[in-house]
């Protein structure tokens, strides 16, 4: 039996359905009347950091770097043809991505939703790897890795992570290296697939002008019941301290780029904490903030200045990023400012500006079926709820945000990563 729960928000004039499907899969359906686009995303709680794991208490398996991403590429190749070509017949816009902690397959369409959903549920549940098809992908992914090597934004971030973390796999390039992907075999792919692509470890989120019945019609037909297994992920003991405080690399860019990260003590992030940090980062980096003005007046940043709270199993990082003529000076000013603010606390006026700003942003995200479905995947894997997240922002207090400011940001545990213009 499928168990359906309706979650309504009178305030946001929206609702969604959570379905515990008998196959073991959790399905969310978020109706958006009047929308042309329909968006479906089928994700597994498995990303590039899950490179050491055990199944049901068995022996710990270590797999090559980049295998989750490789697996994602290979899933599109089915025994009966390329999944992209199947989507072409329905007109859906299909894609997939692998991040640090999840792999997601998605499509966006305006027509023939049922057929597209059937394609999605079919190919993700039907792996097909042979020596020949696995070998063929090496060249394409090798090219992709080279393209990332050319991206200063990508390199400045991974240089940061490599110098921040000693052993945690978050520092490893999501696509792996040309050497590591050469070790990938069909057997290894099947082993990862069978561990993590279990419906109990997955979620399907759908948003658009649809009802739960529209989705269940296809889900009931396509989902193959999965037995629930216990997956254990292993991350080598990662020290609290960063490895190094500074790293730089040269690139053919005309202006330096920087990532300035605060390594935070590892802990699971609650919905309330996420809301408070959202407001806090507004106070610290949004265009209305005092720090932004200070850096801007000193000509140390431009509009690309941004911040992010970036976290997952075993890694929590508060990140400031941007372009700067002098990244070292910018990082120093950020540090000094935070040190002072930790003493004085955030003003009530600034808190109110940041709270309303964050609320408006979060509410506006309910305009987009893509945002909604993507957010619901994150909510599911983090035990959160999409409406609750916005409510938490509206209800946040100044005292709690001030408390986050002090507890989260350790001024001695930072790394600055810089990309400098190559000297001719």
């Amino acid at each position: 039996m499928n168990n359906i729960t309706e979650v309504v928000s009178a305030k946001f004039k929206d609702k969604y359905y959570k379905i515990d499907h008998e196959s073991g899969l959790t399905i969310y359906v978020y109706p958006k009347p009047g929308y042309n686009s329909k968006y479906a995303i089928f994700g597994t709680h498995y990303g590039s950091v899950n490179n050491a794991f055990s199944l049901d208490g068995g022996e710990v398996k270590r797999v090559p770097d980049g295998i989750a991403h490789y697996l994602e590429h290979k899933m599109f190749e089915c025994e009966d043809g390329d999944a992209f070509l199947k989507y072409a017949k329905t007109g859906a816009n299909a894609n997939a991505y692998t991040s640090f902690d999840k792999t997601c397959y998605l499509f966006n369409c305006t027509d023939k939703f049922d057929e597209s959903l059937e394609i999605l549920l079919d190919f993700v549940q039907r792996p097909y790897f042979t020596d020949e098809t696995v070998a063929k992908e090496q060249g394409i992914i090798g090219q992709e890795i080279r393209m990332y090597d050319d991206s200063p934004e990508w390199c400045v971030m991974f240089n940061l992570l490599k110098n921040m973390f000693r052993s945690h796999p978050v520092q490893i390039d999501i696509a792996g290296t040309v050497e590591s992907i050469a070790e990938i075999t069909p057997e290894l792919l099947y082993s990862c697939y069978n561990t993590f692509y279990n419906l109990n470890n997955m979620v399907l989120c759908v948003a658009g002008d649809l009802t739960p019945e529209d989705v269940l019609k296809t889900a009931d037909k396509m989902l193959k019941p999965s037995e629930n297994h216990t997956i254990e992920n292993y991350f080598d003991g990662e020290p609290y301290e960063v490895c190094s405080h500074y790293v730089e690399q040269e690139f053919p860019v005309s202006m330096p780029l920087f990532n300035f990260g605060f390594k935070v003590k590892t802990h699971p992030v609650t919905r309330k904490e996420a809301a408070e940090v959202d407001i806090l980062l507004g106070v610290l980096s949004a265009s209305y903030s005092d720090l932004y003005k200070l850096l801007d007046d000193a000509k140390l940043i431009n509009q690309s200045f941004d911040s992010e709270y970036f976290n997952g199993p075993g890694y929590n990082v508060v990140l400031f990023s941007g372009e700067s003529r002098s990244p070292k000076e910018a990082a120093e000013k950020i540090t000094d400012y935070i040190r002072e603010l930790q003493k004085t606390g955030i003003s009530r006026e600034m808190f109110e500006i940041a709270r309303r700003d964050a609320y408006g942003d979060a509410l506006s995200s309910l305009n987009s079926v893509d945002n909604i479905a993507n957010a619901m995947v994150d909510c599911h894997f983090n035990n959160a709820d999409i409406f609750g997240t916005i409510e938490d922002i509206a209800n946040a207090t100044l005292e709690d945000v001030n408390e986050r400011l002090c507890s989260l940001l350790d001024l001695d545990n930072t790394t600055l990563s810089v990309v400098l213009p190559a000297k001719e």
Binding site: N93, Q303, S364
Partner: protein, 425 residues
């Protein structure tokens, strides 16, 4: 979707509105159109950035940002683009719908007023804009120019246009050169502002649930005092090529960029432009296109290969990221696909999947307020203003014969290659 309601508020000032209830937000945008020109691009572009930086009422960037954030993270944006041979200064405001505010205030009303404030009441005195503000905006513009240089895909595409349209207004940068920007004075910006108010073409578009009357009223009032003589706007289309150009540039990059520019001998508002749009989709606009399937997937010659049609200029741009060793082979494969199109070797599957993908993207684009605004405002110079449904109908009606005919009008204009420096690895 409800169709567009249009009215002229003053000579050369149009107000368009679409009532849509499905969004949590509203948006009001104005496109300010001027002829692209080497002499005025830089000052107009900086004017646009100065207008959205601050105004008399909110005299600095921080005060203005705080006002917007107190309005629940409302947005005020300025951007500069090219629309055919016209320079387009776009200013828009957007925010949450009044029914979701925590304190019951009307965001949409305050934002309409704010848009008029920034256009009509900028921070000026003695016939000049603020010099410190101008220095800051100049710096931000240099940074933007630098970022575009950093992104080699954007850089390569800009180089192609520059080479290909060297004799057309379209070939010049939308915000001038660094030198031209450097030379601007606060009085130049004032002069540009005065010129814009009197002579530019203004096209406003409002999308939202609440009534547009308030917005159009505020705008109409603002133009009352101004004696307007709108400038003539036009776009040149080049129909034939005398001799194709071939340019290679070397830089320290791992992946080379291959850019091919072709003339389509057909542009908006010509009726056949729709067939060219679809031809571009079949060739390289979708994940089932000839380029994607054959050049990328089957022959593994590139990381990406796509085409796009600049419909007001009658230009087809083909862009590809390739390894140095594959440049010649990729070029050959791309021209082979074009040849196949010309001969009519287009399968039903290729045609139908391209139509589906194009129509899908049309419908998908109008699921955001920004998308709805863009959908209508981008048709300003087209033969007709279509709703998404009408456009879909037109795409469906295009035949294979029309596409083949469009392909046969293609002529090669310029090939630009951004190549990695030959270094020993």
């Amino acid at each position: 979707m409800n169709s567009l309601i249009q009215k002229e508020l003053a000579p050369g000032v149009m107000f368009n509105s679409v009532s849509v209830s499905k969004f949590k937000t509203m948006r009001l945008l104005v496109n300010i159109l001027l002829p692209l020109s080497e002499e005025t691009n830089a000052r107009n572009a900086l004017l646009c950035y100065m207008l959205v930086r601050c105004c008399k009422k909110y005299p600095d960037f921080t005060t203005l940002s705080r006002k917007l954030s107190m309005l629940y993270g409302a947005e005020l944006n300025g951007s500069v683009s090219k629309m055919g041979d016209m320079q387009c200064l776009t200013i828009s405001v957007g925010g949450i719908d009044d029914s979701y505010t925590l304190g019951g205030e009307s965001v949409s009303e305050q934002l309409s007023e704010l848009l008029c404030e920034v256009i009509f009441n900028p921070k000026v005195s003695d016939g000049k804009f603020d010099s410190e503000d101008l220095a800051q905006e100049k710096r931000l513009t240099y940074d933007m120019i630098d970022s575009e240089f950093n992104d080699k895909r954007i850089y390569a595409s800009q180089q192609l246009i520059k080479l290909m349209c060297a004799d057309e207004q379209f070939g010049i940068s939308r915000y001038g050169t660094k030198e031209q920007i450097e030379a601007l004075t606060p009085a130049d910006i004032y002069e540009a502002w005065q010129y814009v108010l009197k002579n530019a073409y203004f096209d406003f578009t409002y999308v939202g649930d609440s009534s547009p009357e308030k917005a159009s009223g505020v705008i109409e009032n603002s133009f009352k005092e101004i004696k307007r003589t709108p400038v003539e706007l036009s776009t040149d289309v080049v129909y034939s090529v005398f001799e194709p150009k071939n340019v290679t540039e070397e830089m320290d990059v791992a992946q080379c960029k291959l850019e091919i520019g072709m003339r389509t001998a057909c542009a908006e508002p010509e009726e056949d432009a729709i067939a060219v749009r679809l031809m571009s989709a079949v060739l390289g606009g979708t994940a089932t296109s000839k380029f994607f399937t054959n050049v990328r997937e089957k022959k593994s010659l590139c990381y990406y290969c796509m085409s796009r049609f600049v419909r007001l200029k009658g230009i087809l741009i083909i862009e590809s990221g390739v390894e140095a060793d594959n440049i010649e082979a990729a070029k050959e494969a791309i021209f082979e696909e074009i040849e196949q199109m010309k001969r009519g070797n287009i399968s039903d599957f290729e045609l139908e999947s391209a139509k589906l993908a194009v129509i899908n993207s049309v419908y998908a684009s109008v699921d955001t307020t920004g998308g709805v605004v863009n959908w209508y405002s981008s048709q300003l110079m087209d033969a007709s203003v279509d709703t998404p449904e009408q456009a879909a109908e037109k795409f469906r009606a295009v035949t294979k014969e029309q596409i083949v005919a469009a392909a046969n009008k293609l002529s090669l204009d310029t090939i630009y290659v951004l190549k990695s420096k030959a270094v020993e690895k």
